[in-house]
Structures are given as C-alpha cells and as structure tokens.
Symmetry: C2
Subunit: 207 residues, 2 copies
C-alpha cells in the first residue's frame, strides 16, 4: 500500500490484468487519475469517448474507461462509493486564480501530475481531463449548471479498476478545498495481481 500525502501526486506503472485499488483513508477526499499506454503515451484516457460510449456522465462498476483511440484502458470492477467525475480538468494554478480568486495560487493536481509524469516523458500539454475518483459534481440538467459537492466517500472506502493494457498511471490527493470539503487529506493506492476473494464475488454489484 502506498500513501499519497495531501496535495501531492505519484506516477507508476501497471501491467495488463493487474488491479488498481484507490482508497480514501479519511473520507471526503478526491483523487484525480490519469492513464497512458505504456508503449505509446500519445494514447491516453478520454472522458469524451468514455461518456459517449456509456451514454452516461456518471461511471461506476462494470463501466470501461476508453482511450482517445477508443481502446478500453481500465474497467471499474468494484466501487464502494459509486460517485466520480469525468468532466473537469485537474485543478491548477489557473483554477485557483480564475475560479477561486487566490492571489498566491497552489500548483494543484495539474502541477502534481506534471512533476510526477515528467520522468516518463509526459509533458504538461499531454494532461487531459482526468477521471476524478470520488469527486462529486452535481449537474442541473436544465441549466447545465455544475456544483462541486463534498465527496460521498467514507473513511476506508475504495474503488478498484482492472488494467486492460500496460500503462503509466498517475494519482493525486486533490489540492482544491472546494472538492474535498475544505480539508486536505491523503489517498492510498495499491496494485494487486488479483482481486481479493470476497471482492471477486461482489464484483459487478454496486456497493
């Protein structure tokens, strides 16, 4: 198990068939997630393809996450929270400046991704819309208005993804107060070679 400290990020490799377990150890904490094809990092996770093919903005157990080339990168196989966002870009210096009026803005998840992904040759412009694990964005269907609510994740709850290709991935412990009920908390993650037996039985069933 690896802990991501508050307002930081980490990148790592994962093999096809392995599982990524993302846990919110304290509750109400978002983790932005990115994925790139390990063989060719020009292939990356795509919110637009995934939402289009699912016919839903909200993805959970059983849903595939597609790449920009329309290949399945990840499948959500177990989801104790069931509420994530796939519409917003990682928070950044500009987010804090433009949206929240901060005069000395933090570098945000964008900055943490840039730092974590640089050793893999992935540049700032290669960072797309992330899959924002545990992020709770309310959409008003009539007006289109969005509102960032506190995550529904309770302490110790997890979401597990199966890797469908060899990938370079990155996760953050999100840096935006508004997304995390105004406290900055850690995120835990684990790479598993197989699903724990008790989860295998439950896979496919919403928690």
């Amino acid at each position: 198990m690896t802990r991501i400290s508050p307002r930081t990020g980490q990148a790592f490799k994962i093999k096809k068939g392995q599982f990524l377990k993302v846990t919110d150890p304290e509750g109400q904490q978002v983790s932005d997630m990115l994925a790139y094809n390990a063989e060719d990092t020009r292939e990356y996770i795509s919110s637009g393809r995934s939402i289009d093919f699912a016919g839903r903005l909200l993805l959970t157990t059983g849903d595939p996450l597609y790449s920009n080339r329309s290949n399945v990168m990840l499948t959500i196989v177990h989801d104790e929270v069931g509420r994530h966002d796939f519409t917003l870009t990682p928070c950044s210096e500009a987010t804090f400046r433009i949206l929240y009026g901060h005069t000395e803005p933090h570098h945000g998840c964008q900055g943490n991704f840039e730092k974590a992904l640089a050793p893999f040759g992935i540049e700032p412009d290669d960072i797309p819309i992330a899959f924002n694990v545990f992020m709770n964005v309310d959409v008003d269907g009539k007006t289109g208005k969005i509102r960032v609510d506190p995550p529904m994740s309770k302490a110790g709850q997890s979401t597990i993804f199966r890797a469908e290709m060899d990938m370079i991935m990155a996760l953050t412990a999100c840096s935006a107060g508004e997304s995390n009920n105004f406290t900055y908390k850690p995120i835990d993650f684990e790479i598993l070679d197989s699903l724990p037996e008790n989860l295998e039985q439950r896979a496919g069933v919403h928690a």
Copy 2:
C-alpha cells in the same frame, strides 16, 4: 461564405480579433469545432477548463472557450441557437461501430478532422473533445444519463465567435445520424473582420 458539404470537414486560419460565423443553412445540423494556437498547436481548445471556469456544461453568448493552458481562445459573442455540447468527442469509426452497431462504419467527424488538419501538422492523437456547435445533448442530473436530441437550430441561424488569438481552426458538417435528426446536411461558415452593425448592438444579449 464557405460551404462544408454533408459529412465532411475543413480547416482554416483565423487572426486574433476576427469573427467566425457558423451557420446552419437547413436547420438541425451539428458542426464540431476545434481550435489550436497557430504559433504552437500543442495549445488546444479544452472542454474541461471551459466548463470548470464557467461553472456550467452549457455555454452561450458571453462565455469564453479556454485552452488546455487556461488562455481564452474564443468568446461566443452572438448566439441565435443557445444550445451546444462540450462533453463528447467527435464521432468516429469507433462511435459508429461501438455505439450504433454499424458494420461498415463511416470515418465520422474524427476522420474529417484528421484529413483537414494533417496539412497543419496536427495528428489524429491531437484531436480533443470538440465544441459541438448546435449539438443538443440532454443530461439527466440525477442519473447522469445523456441523450442526443435533434439540434434546436432552425434554417439560417448562426453562432458567432470572436478569435482571441491567432488560430488554426476546423469545422465539420457532422456525420452522425443520431446528432442531426437522421439527415446529413451542410454547414456554412464565414470569417469576418468586424461584427455586422446590427449584431454589435445585440452582442451580449441571448437571441
């Protein structure tokens, strides 16, 4: 005035301060739109930034469209339709195959963008979520379910964008039956050095 034939696309240059007028000549026809910084095409239009900063999925008159680097690329200055989409990737061979079950899928807006943008050195992987002019996507706020409805655009209605930097842009006459009430129609566009006087007076006011 330039006409884009049904199920095709075109790319062109536009200067900062010029206006792009996109017209639906027959009604109920979508036009996917892309924009790249002419000086550095690694800077491109970003749905995630634009939606985040607006706090709305639905953008119209007065709304800026941001780049992945959080710079304003375009501003919507006049909008006779007021309903566009900024969540879905351009339709593609994979869209027609995965989503609609076509056995001999059309290359879609993705293919048309690839062909039109290649002479500018912009590659297939550089094509992000487009601003889908006139596309009418209904979102159920509770379930997240999306439904593609016929465009609200009537014959002859336009949306006008002001260019906020020198750009390479591309437009399509969208190829997906589902997005265009099942007929394939043309799209007209025009690059203007100034807004017509009658529109200047109305700019900022929803049609």
